[in-house]
Amino acid sequence: MTSPLALFSPMEVNFEIKVPNAAPKTGDYRLLRTVVTSGALGLVENALPRMIGSQPTRKFGLDAQLTFQYDQNETITLPADAKILALPNPASSSNQVTALSASCTKKDATTIACARSFQLKSRHIDPNQYKTLRGSLASLTQIARQPVILAGGK
């Protein structure tokens, strides 16, 4: 981990995790949740929807306190005998308040590349823009529930 006190360079965190049974068997199939599209890494995915987007409408504008962007990329290498049956649906949208894109693509028989990017463009969000923000956050969590579906294997 690089120093969080270094103000002029992004903080870097490098770590390795081992997830036993990452693609559990569910009958004849295996379900693999990708780290990136599931939102497992992001505070944004975990906190933002509930923190600022839980009310359906707002009477007053919302001060999100910050604008930000994040990009996540992930490459998944599958065992040689794995067969990909379905990938998470792609999503993409851009408006005054947010921009997001999330997709997983099959690079070859055993490689999947996933990318996810999110921008909060405006710190102050008026009640009309708030509805748009909720829609964007909803897209994120919807994709987060979609795993890579593999044929069962052994």
Binding site: S54, A86, L140, R145, Q146
Partner: protein, 666 residues
């Protein structure tokens, strides 16, 4: 005129400037002679106590040795002397070097020392900071003062309780703080004549000393918990002194879900009374005389009659009285013992409409007595900190609750819990307790509550549409601990605030989910189950991926209905606190849209491990899936050596494949 005034100001400023230049020059000469950058050496200082602080500031251990510590406690010493007239004098001396500028300051640089001004005197002898320059900075009189603790700020009858606040000056990373004070506790009939001293802290402690001194003929009872440690016995000024000393204790860190410090770190328990009988007699007599005077005041009887109006059985009367004291008398969070153990008269409490736990228990006993229901106060220890039977002192207990005799049954009540339920008192389970009965003489034991006393039963019906939209209906029934939590959350909420609460709960499913309606049962009830119902819609909850659709079983929308212990740590050094024994039950039905076939549901899973038993599983029949789950927490604590199996069970229960249903087209 304006111009001349301007000139005068400029001249004045110039004169001042020249004065200050001279002063600076003088100061500069003086400073040059003393060389403020030159560090004092501890060997140059004649005062050995100051020399120790300087040595610690300049050459003592630092972040290199203890990279994760907030501070190093170089010395923590408490010398406790029991005098023949019953007075207890405690001399405290601590020396701490701060390592972390934020956490270290928070813990050690602004101290609040509670004391009871009616029974105790507190004298600060030393409060000073030494930095690397070796100069002591003594706390001025402005930096030491008395305040009324926030908890009793609106409760004037407890205003004898004060906090002496000591703010150390010139504190920064590397500062060494020294504190010495003397606390003298007068002998009173309900004085604890004993106590408990922690022998360790989470931060490293280089030297921890506790001495207990008593005159000839008094043999204090002593016990060390959590570590094997024998005292050194000596004589001083006609007294016998038992000295406990520990050196070079490591830096340690609390873990998520740890028990309280007294249950985890070593501690010394001491008492100057020879038996529990001698402890109970004076306290019980005074408590009961004050709380339940004979004859009872007419106002108490009249108020009790008003409260129980309509109740026909002793149990109904006891329930109404408990609800009144719990809800209508504001709870003041004054720790037990800070203002002694004798309660105020019930008339005073009734007039004030606020009370600490002694007074709430006292009022409940008085009201119950007026209706022919007997009872007694019971001292208990919370947090699964074992009460040491061999050391008789009331200082071992941190809460008082009530035990009533209703219809020949024992009923445990905690009237300080404003959301408490009848006969479900959480404090002091699975531990020794001390009933304050007239003529009482010994400890009793209180078993853990049965998991059936706190049940959360959730029924959820989900209807999935072909486009992925979800309609969800939840029905919650909560008793005991769950009802307590639900009332704590929901009682203060009305109208728009309540709507927002349920909308936030709906958002647990998805950010676009909407609360379509909710019903909340009686938030004042002290018996039975509390019910809550909610309908939620979640557009696009489960959309198709090619010919598949993964349906993640939605979580509960009411957080207080679901509290499975956290087993996030892979291993533990300390036991895991599970909380009160309880049961969670879930029944789920899912309606699958036509054109989709159920390919996978979580299979049956059953098991049992220390503190936990569970059964969980789903079945599919046509387009309907039904799931049933039950988790029972039957212990308050999981010991460290059993944690591995416990974690394995929780991991299995919460695995991804146990939360999803897989549908395929066809």
């Amino acid at each position: 005129m304006k111009k001349s005034l301007y000139v005068a100001i400029v001249l004045l400023a110039a004169c001042k400037g020249s004065d200050s230049s001279k002063q600076s020059a003088k100061a500069g000469t003086k400073a040059a002679a003393e060389d403020p950058w030159a560090k004092k050496s501890a060997s140059d200082i004649k005062d050995p106590k100051l020399a120790r602080l300087v040595e610690l500031a300049t050459n003592g251990p630092d972040k290199d040795k203890y990279p994760q510590a907030d501070a190093i406690v170089a010395l923590e010493q408490d010398d406790i002397t029991y005098k023949s007239d019953g007075t207890v004098v405690t001399k405290h001396h601590s020396i701490v070097k701060l390592l972390d500028p934020q956490r270290g300051k928070e813990k050690y640089a602004d101290l609040h020392i509670p004391y009871d001004s009616k029974r105790e005197t507190l004298t600060i002898e030393t409060a000073r900071t030494v930095n690397a320059d070796g100069k002591p900075q003594v706390a001025s009189k402005d930096e030491i003062g008395d305040i009324v603790p926030a908890a009793v700020a609106d409760a004037t009858i407890y205003s004898d309780v004060r906090e002496r606040v000591v703010t150390f000056p010139a504190v920064d990373t590397g500062s060494v703080l020294e504190l010495e004070y003397t606390r003298t506790t007068k002998a009173t009939p309900d004085s604890p004549l004993g106590g408990e001293e922690m022998l360790a802290q989470w931060n490293p402690v280089l030297e921890r000393i506790v001495s207990i001194s008593a005159p000839a003929g008094i043999a204090p009872k002593l016990a060390v918990e959590g570590q094997k440690l024998e005292p050194k016995k000596s004589r001083a000024g006609g007294n016998t002194v038992w000295t406990y000393k520990l050196e070079n204790q490591p830096d340690r860190h609390p873990e998520m879900g740890s028990l309280v410090e007294a249950a985890v770190l070593p501690r010394l328990v001491f008492g100057f009374q020879p038996s529990w009988q001698k402890v109970v007699q004076p306290v019980a007599e005074r408590f009961l005389k004050a709380a339940v005077p004979s004859p009872l005041p007419a106002s108490i009887k009249a108020e009790a009659d008003r409260i129980v109006a309509g109740a026909t059985t002793p149990a109904e009367k006891a329930q109404k009285l408990f609800a009144y004291v719990a809800h209508d008398i504001r709870s003041v969070e004054l720790p037990l013992g800070w203002a002694g153990y004798e309660p105020h008269s019930p008339e005073v409490v009734l007039q004030n409409r606020y009370a600490d736990e002694r007074d709430k228990v006292g009022l409940l006993l008085a009201l119950a007595s007026s209706q022919g229901i007997s009872g007694r106060p019971v001292l208990v220890r919370t947090g699964k900190v074992p009460v040491v039977a061999s050391v008789p002192t009331i200082a071992q207990f941190d809460r008082v609750i009530a035990k009533l005799d209703v219809d020949s049954k024992e009923v445990w009540l905690d009237p300080s819990d404003e959301h408490g339920q009848y006969n479900v008192a959480f404090a002091g389970q699975d531990n020794m307790v001390l009933p304050l009965d007239k003529g009482g003489s010994e400890l009793g034991s209180r078993p853990a509550l049965d998991p059936s006393t706190s049940i959360s039963a959730t029924k959820a019906d989900f209807k999935l549409a072909a486009n992925g939209d979800l309609e969800a209906t939840y029905s919650y029934e909560m008793s005991g601990w769950y009802a307590d939590r639900a009332q704590s959350e929901l009682r203060p909420l009305k109208g728009e605030l309540l709507d927002r609460y349920f909308q936030k709960g709906a958002a647990e499913l998805a950010p676009t989910a909407l609360d379509k309606g909710h019903e909340v049962g009686d938030t004042q009830s002290v018996t039975g189950s509390m019910s809550v119902k909610q309908q939620v819609t979640a557009p696009g909850y489960s959309t198709a991926q090619a010919n598949f659709r993964v349906f993640e079983l939605p979580p509960v929308t009411l957080g207080v209905a679901d509290e499975v212990p956290n087993a996030g740590l892979s291993t533990r050094k300390t036991p895991l606190w599970l909380g009160t024994p309880r049961t969670e039950k879930g029944e789920i039905t899912v309606q699958v849209p036509s054109g989709w076939k159920v390919t996978y549901v979580p299979p049956k899973l059953e098991g049992k491990t220390e503190g936990l038993s569970y059964s969980d599983g789903c079945e599919a029949s046509g387009q309907t899936i039904t799931c049933k789950a039950e988790i029972k927490v039957d212990k308050l604590v999981v010991p460290t050596d059993k944690y591995g199996a416990f974690r394995e069970a929780i991991t299995k229960l919460q695995a991804y494949e146990r939360r999803i249903v897989l549908l395929t087209r066809g």
